[in-house]
Amino acid sequence: MSFGVPFFPQEASSEAGHVDALFYTLLAFSVILGFSLTALVVGYAVKYRVGSPADRTGQRSRNLWLEMSWTIASLIIAFIFFGWGAILFVRRDHPPADALEITGLGKQWMWEFRQPGGQREINELHVPVGKPVVVSLASQDVIHSFYVPAFRIKQDAVPGRTTHIWFIATEPGRYHLFCAQYCGTQHSEMGGWVTVLPPERYSAWLNSQGEGETLAASGEKLFRALGCSGCHSASSKVRAPSLEDIFGRPVALDNQQTVIADERYLRDSILNPEKEIAAGYEPVMPSFDGLIDEGELQMLLAYLKSLSPQPAAGAMP
């Protein structure tokens, strides 16, 4: 921030510094290479302009050694940048186990968030400083993208699946939240602010919002209202798999395969139950595709997850 002209964006997450280190290294490399080439071309253009007295003996129009060496040098440099970027990127897929889980739902044209305690926010997201936060993203309609420049993170919210993004905010403050994937008429107004608070102020803020119903609690109500509990309970006459402690566990399927009951599996089992049938059960469950919306699906998933207090390792994406 110099004279009100922004050159460099703020760094406000644990990842931002790492991303910027790679960015500035790339920038330095590009500036050096780009301007050396410019200097070379301008130098040649001046030195060998028509009529200049420069020495022109020893012209060559190929030089295998030189060509090989710049090809290999480019390869090596490219692989270094590749590796560096890839290592940071893969880390993005592995949130810490103790992360605070917030659900985010994108719809034309707003973001709706639910705190773990059930507090609901529109186009505002409050998070504590220094604590890992996972946002599970879904979309009600078209593709949106959750983007906080100060955190250097971005993730599309795609209808029909759940995606995740995590971060550790490091600086209290208010930061822009944008939708980065074009989503229709008011795309540029879809966004708001991420407010990073010190932990004690965050708890105070949560309390001031009142004890909402948690997402899992809403899910449980829905679970009964939709009649899921009619079959999926121990006392039921219809034989359906028990959902106690299912999240993150391996499930044997009737085609001799085994899958981990992750969010993808649970989502598919609700919307497309015939796709993967648990071994030993009849494929009698109806599809709930079209009967529940994305927000209700998020509630059901939260409820099913809450049935396994300690998710097995590897279940978190």
Binding site: N272, E274, K275, S287
Partner: protein, 211 residues
């Protein structure tokens, strides 16, 4: 210029080679078109195998098999036309070409019968027609029928194109030079075999996935 159609060529022989080379390049391009849609089908099939298999049973296997036989026969008569043209037996060539396009038309008629049957059974998820399907998982069965109509009608369009080209070739037959006739029969023949091969891939994919 000595019997060539394009002024760019010196000899009819070079022009004929260029023609069939161009047709191969075009077929490569068409293969990418069908390949992309086949890929979509295969991905969907991985996801919804049981629904697709069940939906597939609602297609008419006898009519599909009959049509496959019709198209393979038409490829045979097309090959015959090419052979006859090489021996400059022009009248016989025209007859072979007419048989080929007649078989193509026969395929289209049978396909039309199949379509109307499927539409009357309520299996066509098109133009807001009601989709009536009694099997399990109608949502993905509808998806199957969507792909079925998309791909078979794309194939039918190509077949119509082939018939139109053969008709045009026969219409221009009296004015064409012998070299020109042979060139065209060779190039159109390649295209016809290609359409045939596409159907040979489509038939098992749609009709035989669960039998």
């Amino acid at each position: 210029m000595s019997g060539t159609e394009s002024i760019a060529f010196d000899t009819p022989k070079r022009e004929r080679r260029a023609d069939s080379f161009a047709m191969w390049v075009f077929i490569g391009s068409e293969a990418m078109l069908f390949g992309a849609i086949f890929l979509v089908f295969l991905v969907a099939h991985l996801d919804f195998g049981p629904a697709f298999a069940a939906a597939s049973k609602h297609l008419s296997l006898p009519l599909g098999t009959f049509n496959t036989a019709v198209l393979i026969t038409s490829s045979f008569t097309m090959a015959l036309a090419h052979m006859l043209a090489r021996h400059r037996r022009w009248r016989a060539t025209v007859w072979a070409l007419m048989t080929t396009s007649a078989l193509g038309a026969c395929f289209l008629i049978v396909k039309g019968i199949e379509y109307s049957k499927e539409i009357s059974e309520g299996l066509a998820p098109l133009l807001g027609l009601p989709f009536r399907y009694t099997g399990p998982d109608p949502v993905h069965a509808e998806f199957f029928f969507g792909l079925y109509f998309a791909m078979t009608s794309l194939h039918a369009l190509h077949l119509i194109g082939g018939i139109v080209v053969i008709a045009g070739m026969i219409a221009l037959w009296p004015t064409a030079s012998p070299a020109g006739r042979l060139r065209r029969v060779a190039a159109v023949g390649l295209y016809w075999h290609f359409i045939d091969i596409i159907w040979v891939f489509m038939f098992p994919v749609f009709y035989l996935i669960n039998r």
